[in-house]
């Protein structure tokens, strides 16, 4: 299957032709987002010579009959006069006109619903404002559907109606049918994407074999947090000829952001901005990265730039919020996140970010509220769960926060931050066994903050398990030195100090003196290092033999030889992201 599709991919000219025709079709039907996606993709491909450009589709007899009404209705539609458009289309019989007729009825309902929301009376009522046209549409569409009269676009609309009516199972079926009928229409794929909740479900669907499917699977992998697979897909797509597509670049950047590969993501975003300087989409993610790296000037530049482009966009507000947050003006930051939420109440990131801001302001109850809202929008938002856990931990309720951390951990099983947080809670509750397990697991899955081992070592130290503690310190130091970065001086010197004492107690004087010497590199441990050296030389003068007990962990061969030990974590993983 992969082979056949890659050959399809190879034929870029063919793809370009398909794109051009679908752009025209979508445009006629007012499906602006799909037009945008397809156009972006088409733009990234080579331009075709004149004779290659596909001719506009043949008009059928029905089309010709409906042409005038359709043109009139389309102009009303473009002016957002949906009811008017629907009125003039009511008698038309061509597929195109029928779709536009139904679509304008749907949009008219949606528009009225939005207007209604402003008029609603109380909080309970808000959820009750519904698009009243939906049920009618559903009845009509299902009739036509059972008669088999729906084309790809109409199927898509039918699916959307079903989804809006919360009939998710049926909606999935219809969207799958829509992709079969019209694989090039990105809208159906995107809707399908929102309805698929896990990888099993994805595998169980029978999807058409088309090059668009590759884009879809890549997108799906990103949504399901299967970043590695997603990246692989995107890279293969780039190799196949879509290298210039801004869509793919932005998707890859977001994927890198999700696995906290900040440098790569930053690089890609910068490239993206060069290619498409007026782009606003995904810029909130970019600002998150800048925030994590504390790149104030860049963030400030981005914020100012975006305000110039369009200040009433959710992304812009998020960027400004991040900007203020980085400048520690948390009230203003919260204000901008609120504005973002006013623009789009279902904007997940903003709720979480607002929670973070309230946390900074020590307004825990508001923070809890914000996080809860985030969870409501998306139950799988691990950052909100984590934030709730943090809030309760700050309120000195470690047991209470365990539940939230566990939730977060469930969602991101291989994220060390949740594990470390869990470990800390257990430690506070004096559940050392559980704490140890958490720390060790955190280290095993690749610790981003480098704290797990240290904490584990300290825990062992407290419990007087000196062998285990030493073992942990040894691995810790190996990791630190192998990365060649000198971070957390205090912790490193602390580890060295402990190891020195440990070796001294076990009469491994060579190793002990090595550690002591290393200690002298650090200001705060210098005195102790020297003292230890003196002790060692005193003992040696007494002629006490060094122990040859080989059962003790012996580490410093690699350290002294400066050969590279096994690297568990890549240097990139060092920084932590608190988006």
């Amino acid at each position: 299957m992969a082979a056949t599709r890659s050959s399809e991919l190879g034929d870029l000219v063919q793809i370009k032709k398909q794109l051009i025709s679908i752009i025209a079709q979508c445009k006629e039907r007012g499906l602006v987002h799909s037009v945008k996606w397809a156009s972006e993709l088409a733009f990234s491909l080579e331009t075709l010579p004149l004779n290659e450009i596909p001719p506009p589709p043949e008009l059928t007899e029905e089309d010709a009959q409906d042409l005038d009404a359709f043109c009139l209705a389309k102009s009303y539609f473009d002016l957002k006069e949906y009811d008017r458009a629907a009125y003039f289309l009511r008698g038309c019989r061509s597929q195109k006109a029928y779709f536009l007729y139904m679509y304008s009825r749907y949009l008219s309902g949606e528009k009225k619903k939005d207007d209604e929301t402003v008029d609603s009376l109380g909080p309970l009522e808000k959820g009750q404002v519904r698009n009243e046209a939906l049920r009618e549409l559903r009845v009509e569409l299902s009739k036509k559907h059972s008669a088999g009269e729906l084309d790809g676009f109409a199927l898509y609309l039918y699916g959307v109606v079903l989804r809006k009516l919360d009939l998710l199972k049926e909606a999935v079926e219809i969207f799958v049918a829509a992709t079969h009928a019209l694989p090039l229409h990105w809208g159906s794929w995107l809707e399908l994407c929102n309805l698929i909740t896990n990888i099993e479900m994805l595998k169980s669907l029978s999807l058409p074999d088309c090059w668009v499917r590759d884009f879809f699977t890549a997108h799906m992998y990103t949504e399901l947090q299967m970043i590695k697979e997603a990246l692989q897909k995107y890279h293969s797509l780039m190799e196949a000829g879509f290298a210039k597509s801004t869509y793919i670049i932005s998707q890859i950047a977001v994927a890198y952001h999700n696995i906290r590969d900040i440098d790569q993501a930053l690089y890609l975003f910068n490239e993206l901005r060069e290619q498409d300087p007026f782009r606003i989409e995904n810029m909130d993610t970019f600002s998150n990265l800048l925030y994590v790296r504390s790149m104030k000037p860049e963030l400030s530049y981005l914020a100012h730039n975006l305000v110039e482009i369009d200040k009433y966009r959710v992304e812009t507000c998020c960027v400004i919020g991040n900007y203020y947050s980085l400048r520690s003006q948390h009230e203003k930051a919260a204000l901008y996140f609120q504005r973002a939420l006013k623009l789009n109440p279902r904007c997940l990131g903003a709720w979480t970010l607002m929670g973070h801001e309230y946390m900074e302001m020590k307004n825990t109850s508001a923070a809890i509220q914000a996080y809860r809202h985030a969870i409501e929008v998306n139950k799988r938002d691990y950052r909100a769960w984590y934030g709730l856990g943090q809030t309760y931990e700050i309120l000195k309720m470690p047991f209470y926060s365990l539940y939230y951390y566990r939730k977060a951990h469930q969602l991101r099983a291989n994220d060390s931050r949740m594990l470390v947080a869990l470990g800390e809670c257990y430690e506070k509750l004096s559940q050392q066994v559980e704490a140890k397990k958490c720390y060790w697991r955190a280290y095993s899955v690749g610790d981003v903050e480098r704290m797990a081992l240290l904490k584990l070592a300290k825990l062992h130290e407290q419990l007087n398990e000196s062998d285990d503690a030493a073992q942990c310190y040894i691995i810790y130091i190996k990791d630190i030195f192998s990365c060649g970065e000198q971070l957390e001086h205090a912790e490193v010197s602390n580890a060295l100090r402990y190891l020195g004492q440990y070796y001294f107690k076990n009469r491994l004087y060579d190793e002990a003196s090595l550690c002591a010497q290393r200690c002298c590199d650090y200001n705060d441990a210098r005195e102790e290092g020297k003292a230890l050296l003196r002790q060692i030389s005193a003992v040696r003068e007494q002629g006490e033999p060094s122990s040859t007990d080989l059962s003790l962990p012996c580490v410093f061969n690699p350290l002294s030889n400066n050969t590279t030990p096994v690297r568990r974590v890549s240097p990139l993983d060092l920084s932590s992201i608190t988006p």
Partner: protein, 760 residues
């Protein structure tokens, strides 16, 4: 025994056991249904002369109409029609006039509405007055487009009602149409309801439509009350959860719904959802607590503490003691930091409950708790503590007078403060204590007292009897007491009631299940149908392992598998000594002694029996004391000192006859008769006859009890003895009669191999 804490749903809004409803401001809006109710009220207040009966019926109708979910016009009309035919016509006329006229008519109605109430008996502050004013306020707040929409939906409401009335569709069809699935014939109706204000008007199924906040609050309050007091009347768990999800979908900020969802999932023992809902509730509560409460930050901190405490109780109820312990410690720590004595007190009372559940000694903690609770004037917690202390004291053999005094003292306070829940617990506890002491008459009396008590709840949603743990415990005791007297038909009735009141999935169902099994087991054992008893043993073990082991030992003993039985008894004794279950220890000792008899080791059983006697005396366990004394007497009889044995039997005979079960009475009398027989054998010739006659008399009495129980094995023994006695006395005809009876029974029963001699 009633464990005192189990039945309490702890709630931070609760003070001294009373849950205060959380009523917010005006959270209601005008719907066509409300307009219909308003028309009814209007007509009621304007039509002066009305039959008293009709008026009374209508008045009773007002509250449910106001508080319930929106009804369709058809349903509404039907309900009103049942009360007053004249009124329904007036209402229909007015509302159809409004709907068929113009918007102006509706506006006119709202302008004349207050006039009707100005001079009638409906005061401004009455329920009706408030409702009317709320509706007026809500109506006046409507914007132009909203008024128009309201009118449109009113038209539809009437139109739909009218149409249905004309076509006279049964109500089931109504429900069908309101479901989400559109069938083909549905389209016509769909076209009718395209532009409606709210879905509620279109739906007839009351569980489907979204409720206004006010309606939702009434709904929650009612369901919560029912959950606490009479679970069977509440909605089924699945349905209630659906309803809650519906409410939450429309308003996720409605924190109380989360709490109810927590309670609801507790019913079905779903730890996942209950934890989730509980935490969600408190997360939401902080929000409303932050803005709503006047004490601002204090309220927020308070709910934090109670959040952890509730989490602890949740784990407690699921038996996760370690988790509960951790949560409780956390609650205590933050309560200490905030200097919140009341919360600390709650924590303390949970702490001793937890200790108790874990099976460790918590008397000191409980005593402290009572003292502090009294100091901070928390009567509820204080008497809970006292009840818990009494329970522990009873188990540890505290003097009975002290315990009962303590209970009486708290009872006075309960009645003063009308803490009905505690009164119930107290009565149930007294029943249990009397039962434990072996005073069945007293136990019965207390049980009846509780069962005949009227509910003391201030708001009574037509709940006659609560299904709290106290009632379950009492009913179980009652059924066991009846079973002891051989009244199995009554027992079956009680069990039926219990099953109905506490369905198997509910919290307290285990109580009656165990009780039922025990009764069945006893019955099977008495009838000598051991094969029937065997499955019961397995079932009992599932519910209570200690009890199960004991029953297993009994069964093995009866089946003559002595070595296995003795092994189990030894194991059981160790277990019980660890858990300080005195009653069981004594029972085990008695059973072990009986095993010794089987091997004719009568003397070796004596130390055990003496130990048992000492223990039972120390703990005031009268029935067990008499039982032990009877065992001792039997041993003495077997060891050849019938005088002593008879004296012992006569000592306890009185109390056995007064309080004992039928089988105990029979056994005691049988033993007495046997002593008398043996004595007669050694007595001088002239006394011999009278002594023998006495024995015959006693045997006859014993036979009455056994025959009432239909206990054939015992009857066989008795007939044998009777035949022997009459033989000695020379009453040939009597002898032959009893001999025949004996033979009949002996043929019927499989020979158990157990001779008459060594069995009490």
């Amino acid at each position: 025994m009633a464990s005192v804490h189990e039945s309490l749903y702890f709630n931070p809004m609760m003070t001294n056991g009373v849950v205060h409803a959380n009523i917010f401001g005006i959270k209601d809006w005008v719907t066509p249904y409300k307009i219909a109710v308003l028309t009814l009220l209007y007509e009621m207040s304007t039509t002066k002369p009305m039959a008293l009966l009709e008026r009374r019926r209508l008045n009773k109708l007002i509250l449910p109409l106001q508080q319930g979910a929106d009804l369709t016009l058809e349903q509404f009309v039907k309900i009103v029609e049942e009360c007053s035919l004249r009124m329904v016509n007036a209402v229909k006329l007015r509302i159809f006039l409004m709907a068929d006229g113009e918007l102006q008519d509706m506006e006119h109605f709202f302008t004349i509405l207050p006039n009707a109430f100005s001079d009638s008996e409906a005061f401004k502050t009455s329920v009706v007055g408030l409702f009317m004013r709320q509706m007026l306020l809500a109506y006046n707040k409507l914007s132009f487009s909203q008024v128009y929409k309201l009118y449109k939906s009113l038209q539809q409401y009437c139109h739909l009602g009218n149409q249905l009335e004309l076509s006279a569709l049964p109500s089931e069809d109504m429900e069908l149409t309101s479901n989400e699935d559109p069938s083909a014939d549905r389209i016509d109706k769909d076209e009718l309801d395209t532009t409606s204000l709210h879905q509620s008007e279109l739906r007839s199924d009351e569980t489907q439509g979204p409720l206004s906040q006010k309606q939702a609050e009434y709904f929650l309050a009612r369901q919560a009350y029912l959950l606490k007091n009479d679970e069977n009347k509440a909605m089924s768990p699945a349905k209630l959860q659906d309803e809650l999800n519906n409410i939450l979908k429309f308003n996720p900020d409605f924190a109380e719904a989360h709490y109810l969802s927590y309670l609801n999932s507790m019913r079905v023992q779903d730890i996942f959802i209950s934890t989730h809902s509980l935490l969600h509730y408190f997360d939401r509560l902080f929000i409303s607590g932050g803005e709503g409460k006047s004490n601002g930050d204090e309220g927020y901190g308070r709910s934090l503490r109670y959040a952890v405490l509730n989490l602890a109780t949740l784990h407690c109820r699921f038996g996760h003691y370690q988790q509960a312990d951790l949560a409780l410690q956390e609650a205590i720590r933050i309560a200490q930091e905030a200097n919140d004595h009341v919360c600390l007190q709650h924590c303390l009372s949970w702490l001793y409950t937890l200790e108790q559940m874990k099976g460790s000694d918590s008397v000191v903690l409980t005593e402290d708790s009572v003292k502090i609770a009294a100091h901070f004037c928390l009567p509820y917690l204080a008497s809970l503590g006292i009840q818990s202390l009494v329970q522990q004291g009873a188990k540890q053999g505290m003097p009975a007078n002290k315990l009962l005094d303590a209970l009486r003292g708290t009872d006075i306070m309960h009645w003063k403060q009308s803490l009905s829940e505690l009164i119930e617990i107290s009565l149930a506890q007294t029943t249990s204590i009397w039962r434990m002491y072996g005073k069945s008459t007293m136990a019965r009396q207390q049980a009846q007292l509780l069962l005949n008590m009227n509910s003391l709840e201030p708001v009574n949603f037509s709940v006659q009897q609560n299904n709290t743990e106290a009632f379950a415990v009492t009913l179980c005791h009652l059924s066991e007491l009846h079973a002891e007297q051989g009244l199995y038909a009554v027992v079956a009735d009680i069990m039926k009631h219990l099953k109905q009141q506490f369905p198997p999935h509910t919290q307290h169902a285990k109580l009656w299940m165990l009780c039922d099994l025990k009764i069945q087991f006893e019955k099977a054992m008495n009838d000598g149908k051991y094969h029937l008893a065997e499955p019961h043993v397995t079932a009992i073990s599932a519910l209570n392992s200690t009890e199960g082991l004991y029953r297993k030992a009994q069964l093995l003993k009866a089946l003559n598998q002595t070595s296995e039985a003795s092994k189990i008894l030894q194991q059981l004794q160790q277990q019980c000594e660890k858990s300080k279950n005195t009653e069981m220890i004594i029972r085990v000792m008695l059973a072990s002694a009986e095993l010794h008899w089987d091997s004719s080791g009568f003397a070796s059983g004596l130390p055990l029996l003496l130990q048992a006697l000492a223990l039972s005396r120390q703990h005031n366990l009268q029935s067990l004391t008499s039982e032990t004394v009877l065992h001792l007497a039997f041993t003495q009889l077997m060891l050849g000192i019938p005088e002593q044995a008879l004296a012992l039997v006569q000592d306890v005979l009185e109390s056995v006859l007064a309080h004992g079960s039928l089988i105990d009475k029979g056994r005691a009398l049988l033993l007495a008769a046997r002593c008398q027989m043996t004595l007669a054998g050694t007595a001088a010739q002239k006394h011999r006859l009278t002594a023998l006659e006495q024995a015959v008399h006693t045997l006859e009495e014993a036979a009455v009890y056994f025959s009432r129980l239909d206990c054939k094995e015992r009857m066989r023994d008795i007939h044998y003895l009777q035949a022997r006695l009459h033989h000695t006395l020379g009453n040939v005809s009597q002898r032959n009669k009893y001999a025949m009876l004996f033979r009949l029974l002996d043929q019927e029963l499989p020979s158990s191999g157990m001779t008459v001699v060594n069995r009490l």
